[in-house]
């Protein structure tokens, strides 16, 4: 792989939690792998406690690696704080973690168009931003939305706060916000995003995850067989170590991914 189009690289990363009294091993031990840009859906799999979430937390910078180097788009970010790690977006198992509960939907979505760093004098919500959001959202509404209809009626829920929605609806809004992000996220991290969803909500969310994976790399920690089957790559962890990292040639998405 040419290192210039390498999006994420883990070079001998070890990590441990400060208050880990459960066992002596590191949460991650000597993990090395890399992903190219626009790699599509990448499943991060393995049994509970194998370090899937830890990998995501090391990428966002919530957890500092105790050893090794992590690069994002060729830049060494091992010691950079989260807000300096540009081009990342996250979707969580607990959907509300992906939004600000104290802000309206409109404000949450507008934040995705803010670019880098807030201004002291620019208003966040402007008519221009809102109409652009609504316009682009209309183009993005997945087919499966017919059943829930939340995204097609986005205009009506703009002034609500996330706590007024169900978990599935919040997850839809989160994924929509990642799709709307400007400049677009280069790496989307998702931690079991479909785990708590019913069939209708899950269908919408899967559609949006697949839409995302067409242009970006979506690293998704999951046990969801359907998602794993559709992945272009699979990264498997076992007890904090990399067990397997391979492309899945028969995946429908891997053709465009390389």
């Amino acid at each position: 792989m040419n290192s210039s189009d390498e999006l994420l690289s883990f070079d001998r990363i070890s990590a441990r939690y400060a208050n880990n009294s459960f066992n002596d091993r590191n949460a991650l031990e000597d993990v090395t792998f890399s992903l190219p840009a626009a790699a599509g859906l990448v499943s991060l799999i393995g049994p509970n406690g194998c370090g899937k979430t830890t990998v995501l937390r090391v990428i966002t910078g919530q957890l500092q690696a105790i050893q090794g180097t992590i690069r994002l788009a060729g830049r060494d970010v091992t010691n950079e704080p989260t807000h300096k790690r540009t081009g990342l977006s996250c979707v969580f198992q607990r959907a509300i973690d992906g939004m600000c509960a104290s802000l309206t939907v409109e404000e949450n979505l507008s934040l995705m168009l803010m670019g880098h760093g807030p201004s002291l004098f620019r208003p966040l919500v402007t008519p221009g931003r809102t109409s652009r959001l609504l316009e682009r959202a209309q183009q993005l509404v997945p087919k499966a939305d017919k059943e829930t209809g939340l995204l097609a009626n986005l205009r009506r829920v703009l002034h609500k706060v996330p706590t007024e929605f169900s978990g599935g609806e919040i997850q839809q809004l989160c994924l929509l916000s990642v799709l709307l992000q400007e400049p677009p996220a280069r790496l989307v991290l998702a931690d079991e995003p479909t785990l708590n969803l019913d069939k209708a909500n899950r269908a919408v969310c899967l559609d949006m995850l697949l839409a995302l994976s067409k242009t970006t790399t979506v690293l998704i920690a999951t046990h969801d067989r359907e998602l794993i089957a559709q992945s272009a790559r699979v990264v498997m962890l076992d007890q904090g170590r990399l067990a397997r990292h391979e492309k899945t040639p028969d995946s429908p998405l891997s053709a465009g991914a390389t």
């Binding site: 704080p81 996250c90 104290s102 934040l111 966040l124």
Partner: protein
């Protein structure tokens, strides 16, 4: 006519008190609502700011605008220190506030030379009160109102409310409001949330500094014993206001309505206090009644009755 005079005097009194406390109380929007921290620092930063202002004016002969600016700056720095303790040292926000309340209480007392009651000397309020006195001389005996003081305080309240509302709609302000609920989300948007929050603590306490100085000037002196417990007063007024605004319906929502709810709460608070005073209720009772009122309102909304019944099933 007597009833009208009494009512007008009564309303004037409540409004003066409510508007006078407004700048101080407005800091609750920034601390309790945006940062989601009941910032105990204000117990100390209020004294510090008021002391800085009077000491500069009385002992060093500094002009009022400059002394006031220094007081606001002192409050701002006090808040930054609490912010640093919370965000960098990761000290529990209540503990950080309590520690700094001690620190700034001591500093304020040192500045005042351990005087319990430090006269502010002539201020803008002296002039305003004089004008009001002249104005009242032309009125019937039972009618005592203060249009000059009231107009001045109303002007300040409007300017501050508009400024805070304006700020909370800027990108920076929205980020401050969001930082209380999801820092990671904002950090992924490239926001340095720790810095935003530390500055947020600073801004909240700058407002406290301004408010405390204003109150001290109105009183004509910095009274040390007045300030400990400010957070309890501010929090209860703010909650009375927010709960009252909630009754008024969904239109009254964050952030614009929150600053308005503060003035509503302030008026309600002083209304209760004044009523107690008028009907010769012992002076200790108003706070008790307000606490009861808050508990009853919250009990209704949070479903306390149902849970109490379930406890005995």
């Amino acid at each position: 006519m007597d009833v009208l005079y009494t009512t007008l005097t009564f309303a004037d009194n409540i409004l003066v008190q409510a508007l006078l406390a407004f700048p101080l109380l407005l800091s609750m929007v920034l601390s309790y609502r945006c940062l989601q921290v009941p910032d105990v620092t204000m117990d100390g930063s209020s004294i510090l700011a008021a002391s800085v202002c009077v000491v500069l004016m009385r002992k060093m002969g500094v002009d009022l605008p400059l002394a006031l600016a220094a007081a606001v700056a002192a409050g701002f720095v006090a808040g930054l220190l609490t912010g640093a303790l919370v965000e960098l040292f990761k000290i529990n926000s209540l503990l950080a506030g309590i520690l700094n309340a001690f620190v700034f209480y001591s500093l304020g007392l040192l500045l005042l030379g351990a005087a319990l009651d430090f006269q502010t000397g002539t201020t803008l309020f002296s002039w305003l009160k004089e004008k009001d006195q002249l104005f009242s001389q032309g009125l019937p005996n039972r009618l005592v109102i203060h249009p000059y003081v009231l107009g001045f305080l109303l002007g300040i309240a409007i300017v501050l409310k508009v400024a805070v509302d304006w700020f909370l709609r800027r990108e920076w302000g929205v980020v401050l409001r969001g930082s209380g609920s999801n820092e990671l989300f904002l950090q992924l948007r490239g926001v340095n949330t720790k810095l935003v929050r530390i500055l947020g603590f600073g801004l909240a306490n700058a407002l406290v500094g301004f408010g405390a100085t204003l109150i001290s000037m109105y009183d004509g002196s910095v009274q040390i014993m007045r300030w400990p417990g400010t957070i309890i007063f501010a929090l209860s007024v703010a909650i009375v206001g927010w709960e009252a605004a909630r009754q008024l319906g969904r239109k009254f929502r964050f952030p614009l309505a929150d600053s308005s709810a503060i003035i509503l709460g302030s008026i309600l608070y002083y209304f209760i206090v004044r009523m107690c005073y008028t009907f010769n209720v012992p002076t200790a009772l108003p706070r008790l009644l307000i606490a009861l009122y808050i508990v009853l309102v919250l009990a209704e909304r949070k479903g306390a009755w149902r849970r109490t019944r379930e406890l005995f099933r």
